[in-house]
Amino acid sequence: MPSCAKKYEYSVNEIPPPGHLIVLSIQHIMLMVMSLGLPIIFANQLNASPEFTSALIAFSMISAGLGSIVQAVRFRYLGSGYLCPNLCGPSYFSLSLSAAWTGGLPLMRGLTMVAGIIEMAMAPVIKKLEKVFPNYIVGMVVALVGVSVITSSVTSFFGLSFEGDAIRNIDILIGFFSLMVMVLSNVWGKGFIKMYCLLIGMIAGWVLAVILVPDYWNDLMIVKSSHWFAIPSYGPGFLNIKFDLKMVLPVLVVGISGSLKSFGNLLAAQKISEPELKEPDFTPLRNGLMADGLSTFLAGLLGGMAVDTSSSNVGLAAATKVLSRWICIVAGIIFTVLAFFPKLLMALSVMPKPVLGSSIIFSGCFMICTGFLEMFTEQWDPRKTFVIGIALFFGLSTGFLPSLYARAPQFVQAFFTDPLPTSTIVAVVLHQIINFDQWFKKEEMKGD
């Protein structure tokens, strides 16, 4: 790999010097922390006590941290060996909430474990899908990983917490400033500045937000009241695990959809880490899905929220050309340890929304463009135009027209969920249908 190493600041197997390793890991943690909003919202919805909320956050962090470590290692059947950390998965949020309402935390834990098992069961099947994922579809999947963060990033960029609420000019200014610092540090900066562009942009945006908006300053002051060190406690809700057969079907749909999303993230991580590969190498992808499934299972077992691979972190790796999997390991260790330090955790989690939004937009850009570039490296023909075009029409329409799909027949609703899984399913099916004649031609040629 010596020639490849020059294309990167740090290639996938390279170990950065300790100082860089730690700061680069912190840069990734800043993005991972954003997902902790999910357990907080979740606990709010349940009117849970502060102790329950702290425990839920801590167990989610431990699961995500351990999951990140497992993802970065390369065992024979476990871990992709790419920089693709775990965080609390938004795909599982609605299901977790329904489960918690119906059967409390024990049912949520049980279903999270089942979702993990489904993902692990999907892993060997993914290997068999080698033939149905030609490069141009892989490119589309990678691009859609970036597309899938558009909603969360743009609403955060505008500082929105709730649907239909007011947008402040000052938030737009903070978001724009933060984004520009990240982009210009990346484009004009070299070495240190380029490598830490996201961290520099985040700090600059945060400082500006604190100076300009008293609310952000007040948020930061809340940190004072938290403890430096605390061991997450197992309250009564965390002692049992339950299952409910009635919820198996929704878990199955969400589990498969989550697996496809993780597959997209892992594929993107592979694409940016090993661009010299002419076709996807399905072994690390299978192992990565196995690791992701195991982390989700572990989250259920521990009492945290289901975890998922992070698109934003893969995008950040692409942006900074820092792809070392050791960063994922150190970030995982720090994230796990951070679960025991509420004050530090709180300080990170009150990051102003516009700053957070600009970070996700920044990393999403790379995902979208990497995908498009990959898509168009092949000779293009009308078959591909229709496969990709139709897949994008229906996939993106799930984001543009959610109310249309709310009135659609049940079987359509089950498969047309989000842009990423929908486009992937449509593209894979269309590729087979449109190229049906080619399959016969190949058979004839074999016969000749």
Binding site: P18, G19, Q45, W101, L160, F162, E163, D165, W217, Q413
Partner: protein, 317 residues
């Protein structure tokens, strides 16, 4: 090799320290200049939406102006109408007899006695405002009704908050601000239910018809304060006016099989009030919609009763 790594590490450490120093310096600057929130005198923590907080701040700012400059400030408001009539909210000032002194969007109202003005459903708006200003459970004197947007020809739902002010000249006025198509805040049902409980405690049985009255403060938009007793029998039905239907309240389930009333009543064994969240289906949305139930326990004619209302919760963007 090891020495090389150490040098790089030290170099990085210096860089990190210099960044941290800059951040620290800026933080100290903020500390020293003082970054005090000018709204620290009013509690806005009960509101979830920024729109609602902005309206309260807007009216509060204007009330401070009236408190300081008295009747002179009204001339200032009239000269700067555009500032006080925006797409988000607008300002008005009345005396305590219901005479309009200033209306940012409807100057033709100025000088008129509007004490008996009603909306399309018969709500006496000025009377409701005066009640709200004297209601200790309604700190920002919220009133909900339907009104019109200047220049339009159809009613729009509206929520307004108010502050009472004594001018330096000794006049008692109230300053109000309204917003069209308001968000449903949890605080709005908290005020309605707590006010209903206060009325029950004060007037007993005769309060029930007042709470049931569609033109009262206890009924607005899709929100309705309802009452049931411990056997599940309704004194005020949650959906229909002057008509009760069969509804096993404790067995009511939401879209995910959750029993909000049963759970709320369990919580009420330990407390006088409870919030319970449940899910409802909106046919135009893919995700289930979150709603909240606020319930309070009190006693009427020696029997325990439950006073409650339901509202929408903020949805993620």
């Amino acid at each position: 090799m090891k020495r090389g790594h150490l040098e790089v590490f030290m170099h990085n450490l210096k860089n990190v320290i210099s960044i941290l120093n800059s951040v620290l310096l800026i933080c100290l600057l903020i500390f020293s200049t003082g970054c005090r929130d000018k709204y620290s005198d009013i509690d806005l923590s009960m509101y979830q939406y920024r729109d609602t907080k902005n309206l309260v701040k807007f009216v509060y700012d204007s009330s401070l102006l009236v408190k300081k400059d008295g009747m002179k400030s009204i001339e200032y408001f009239k000269a700067h109408r555009d500032l006080y009539n925006t797409t988000d909210h607008y300002l008005y000032i009345y005396d305590m007899n219901g005479v309009n002194l200033f209306h940012a969007g409807l100057p033709e109202f100025e000088g008129k006695d509007l004490s008996e003005i009603t909306d399309k459903s018969g709500k006496k708006i000025t009377r409701l405002v005066l009640e709200a200003l004297n209601n200790p459970t309604n700190p920002h004197a919220w009133v909900h009704y339907s009104w019109w947007e200047p220049g339009k020809f159809f009613p729009v739902p509206k929520s307004s908050c108010h502050f009472k002010v004594k001018t330096p000249e000794g006049h008692d006025l109230y300053i109000g601000g309204g917003m069209n198509y308001p968000h449903e805040e949890r605080e709005f049902i908290r005020i309605a239910v707590d006010s209903a409980v206060a009325l029950i405690n004060e007037k007993g049985s005769e309060s029930v018809s007042e709470i049931d009255d569609p033109t009262s403060q206890f009924n607005f938009r899709d929100i309705r304060v309802f009452i049931f007793d411990s056997s599940g029998e309704f004194l005020i039905f949650p959906v229909l006016h002057e008509l009760s239907a069969e509804l096993e309240v404790l067995d009511c389930i939401d879209e995910v099989g959750h029993k909000p009333f049963r759970n709320a009543l369990k919580k009420l064994e330990q407390s006088d009030f409870a919030w319970e969240i449940f899910m409802a289906r909106n046919r135009y949305k893919r995700q289930l919609v979150k709603k909240s139930l606020y319930i309070r326990k009190t006693v009427l004619d020696g029997k325990t009763i439950y006073v409650s209302a339901v509202t929408d919760l903020p949805q993620p963007p």
